[in-house]
């Protein structure tokens, strides 16, 4: 018998008042009912435990627990009983029995009990094979097997999306959907990064010393509901230098998900290593090291650009700044930046201000490689929020 957790018995309260025809009868019946809560008989959820009535569903990552009982139905004593329990999947056969020694004898009406546990790691058909071998009273060696077949289903649907920030950070959005038939409490959803990255999880709000989940009171996931988790990955400093030149597929890390259902029934899953396609940067990559989020109108602010040579040849770069409608650059345009070898990068501090309020996009940088006489244009490099600092009517 599969040992899923027991369930709590629920009552259906039917009450009346003293002035009604049944008088105290209904209340008395409820007080005498052993399954009601004494003192609060109208509370539906009682404390009586009821054993599982059917096999139910089993999902990948959960633990399959089962009671195995061998009962002597006959009126004879049997000897040398050996019970073996195996779990057969499409790919392997696992031995689950706790003991491998034979029981000397089994009297009539007695039984041999065993409780086995197994963390299910495969989807699909599983067969529990119970084999019993014994010797009858007359010395006959007998053997029989029983098969119990069940399906292991998929509990979660996980989708991932990567977002590349203007800096070297990568944001991972993980969408998790509960595709079982009962609510799930998500105990832990964490990202274990690969060795190249450090991860910060962005799924809790810390106020004073307490951390509260971003999901607030909805700590559980109803069937078919989806949740999004957000993580920020920053490449470690030793890899950061190479980050601009990384091409192709990189391994980001894997998601570790632990959930609980009725009365603490636990499940655990890990995704495979998540991969990300590094965006192509072309020959030269211009990224922003330092940029403020919010600036004041018409007030110059400093930014630091990082220019990385992603090509195979040395470059000799000239920087030109073009003023756009709202973005105005300060400083000298047309400067020589010097030679840049392949894979190397340089930091360039610049000053700029905006003449319009709102979310402004920084544009207007032009880099020219004097060797090949090729110009690279950089527009919409980053966004900055421009606000009016004056509180009076003048603004």
């Amino acid at each position: 018998m599969r040992l899923t957790k027991p369930t709590l018995f629920t009552n259906l309260p039917v009450t009346c008042e003293g002035r009604d025809l049944p008088g105290d009868l209904f209340a008395q019946l409820m007080r005498e009912d052993p399954s009601t809560i004494k003192g609060a008989e109208t509370l539906m959820l009682g404390e009586m435990l009821t054993l599982p009535q059917n096999f139910g569903n089993i999902f990948l990552g959960e633990t399959f627990s089962s009671y195995i009982s061998v009962h002597n139905d006959s009126n004879q004593v049997v000897k040398d009983i050996l019970v073996k329990a195996d779990l057969q999947t499409s790919s392997q056969r696992l031995n689950l029995s706790a003991s491998n020694t034979a029981v000397a004898e089994l009297k009539p009406e007695c039984c041999i009990d065993d409780v086995i546990h197994h963390e299910v790691k495969e989807i699909g058909t599983h067969i529990l094979v119970c084999a019993v071998s014994y010797t009858s009273q007359f010395g006959e060696k007998l053997y029989f097997r029983k098969f119990f077949k069940f399906q292991v289903l998929k509990p979660l649907d996980v989708k991932t999306k990567f977002y590349n920030a203007e800096t070297d950070e990568v944001f991972l959005e993980a969408q998790i959907q509960n595709i079982t038939t009962s609510p799930m409490f998500m105990e832990k959803v964490s990202l274990e990064p690969s060795m190249m990255y450090n991860v910060t999880e962005l799924n809790s709000v810390t106020s004073r010393d307490q951390g509260e989940s971003t999901f607030g009171k909805m700590s559980y996931l109803q069937p078919m509901d989806t949740r999004q988790y957000l993580y920020c990955l920053k490449p470690k400093t030793e890899y950061a230098e190479k980050a601009g030149v990384i091409k192709g597929v990189t391994v980001i890390g894997k998601l570790d998900i632990v959930w609980k259902t009725n009365l603490g029934e636990r499940g655990r899953l890990q995704t495979s290593q998540l991969q990300r396609m590094a965006p192509g940067y072309g020959d030269i990559r211009l990224s922003l090291e330092v940029i403020p989020d919010t600036v004041n109108l018409e007030e110059p602010f400093d930014i630091v650009c990082k220019i990385t040579n992603c090509s195979e040849r040395t470059m000799d770069l000239v920087m030109e700044m073009c003023n756009m409608r709202s973005i105005h650059w300060c400083g000298i345009s047309g400067r020589q930046l010097g030679k840049l070898t392949p894979g190397a990068s340089l930091l360039l501090p610049l000053t700029v201000f905006s003449s319009e309020q709102g979310l402004q996009s920084i544009s207007g940088l032009r880099l020219t490689d004097t060797f090949l006489k090729r110009t690279y244009e950089y527009d919409d490099i980053a966004q900055v929020c421009v606000v009016c600092p004056f509180m009076s009517n003048e603004c």
Partner: protein, 370 residues
């Protein structure tokens, strides 16, 4: 109860008419009796749609009939019989409609318990939202009446002055009605699996029924255990324990604290400690049926089938009045099926035991004989 001369067809109605049938749980027979009494009233089978003449007595009979149908889980029958009453606010359900029978009386003749039952019924028929709407309506009425009483007016807002003790009695009555409605709402939300709202509603009952604080907090803890959120459940159970430590020893409170602890052990897969804790409850309260049943359940999870069966069978034999209950019998028959493929005989024996004692309303499904 006023037994007025004008009870139709000269059938005297006493309170005790259906009691003996009810107390022996022969609810089917009791339902039949109400049918006969209502027919004598001119309102029985086949009389729907004819001009009505309700009295407080006939309405009480209807209430008893509907509540028994609900107890028998015959929800569709109850809904069908409720339909002619509409939303219980039709003119012929008010005292003013019968000025000769009830001179000078005002208001609704429908018992509050009947309104509550009528509101709860849809949730058992797969329409929980409708039940919630009706219950919210009832709640609003209760709150309005309490507000009127608080302002020194009569229940319906009129300027009639009430004597102090009448006002106090009315306040107590309507407060208890309000918390009863809120229990119904919370139970309905739980049925709908809207755990967040259910927890909030149970929580808000505490201010109206502070003496039930321990039971309510423990109940909320159990809801969180059902979701799988063991940590939050533990927090609620800790609140219960703190209250217990402050107030001093109280038997049922101590039992509650131990039960909660046992449930937490269960949720941590620690069946051994759960079993020990249930046994500790039995040291304080040896006849506690829940602890006895739950201890036996733990034994099964520890691989001790025979012991578990022995315990439960012993309990049923010693005290059949208490233990021939649906939940215990479910557990017994499940274990019989696990023990041997020849479980039918033992289940049959249970059926015989039940037949001797229980009335005609016992739900034999729990014996799993089919």
């Amino acid at each position: 109860m006023t037994h007025n001369k004008a009870s139709r067809c000269g059938v005297p109605l006493t309170c005790c008419d259906s009691s003996p049938l009810q107390s022996s749980k022969n609810w089917r027979a009791a339902v039949d009796l109400t049918g006969r009494l209502l027919t004598a009233h001119g309102q029985g089978y086949g009389k729907a749609g004819q001009p009505t003449s309700h009295t407080t007595d006939s309405l009480q009979l209807w209430f008893v009939r509907l509540s028994l149908l609900t107890k028998l889980n015959l929800f569709q029958n109850a809904e069908l019989e409720c339909e002619p009453f509409g939303n219980l606010d039709q003119p012929d359900l008010y005292y003013e409609y019968y000025p000769t029978v009830y001179p000078g009386r005002r208001g609704s003749m429908v018992p509050f318990s009947m309104r509550l039952l009528h509101a709860e019924l849809p949730q058992y028929l797969g329409k929980p939202q409708e039940a919630l709407d009706r219950l919210y309506n009832l709640k609003t009425i209760c709150l309005a009446i309490l507000e009127n009483l608080g302002k020194g007016l009569a229940e319906d807002g009129s300027m009639i002055t009430l004597a102090q003790e009448n006002r106090q009695a009315s306040l107590t009555l309507w407060r208890s009605r309000l918390s009863r409605v809120m229990y119904s709402m919370a139970n309905c939300l739980l049925l709908m699996k809207d755990y967040v709202l259910a927890v909030e509603t149970y929580h808000s009952i505490i201010q109206y029924e502070p003496q039930q604080r321990v039971q309510l907090l423990s109940g909320i803890g159990r809801i969180f255990l059902q979701i799988g959120d063991v940590k939050t459940a533990e927090r609620y159970f800790q609140d219960v324990e703190k209250a217990y430590q402050m107030k001093g020893s109280n038997l049922s409170h101590a039992t509650c604290v131990l039960m909660n602890r046992a449930f937490v052990y269960l949720s941590q897969n620690n069946y051994a400690d759960a079993h020990t804790t249930f046994l500790e409850v039995l040291k304080i309260d040896p006849k506690n049926p829940v602890a006895n049943n739950n201890a036996a359940v733990c034994l099964l999870y520890l691989g001790r089938l025979k012991e578990s069966l022995g315990q439960l069978e012993g309990l049923v034999q010693q005290d059949p009045a208490l233990y021939l209950h649906e939940s215990v019998l479910f557990n017994l028959t499940t274990m019989y099926e696990l023990e041997s493929s020849r479980s039918t005989q033992k289940k049959q024996a249970l059926l015989d035991a039940v037949a001797c004692r229980e009335g005609d309303s016992f739900n034999t499904q729990c014996l799993k004989l089919v």
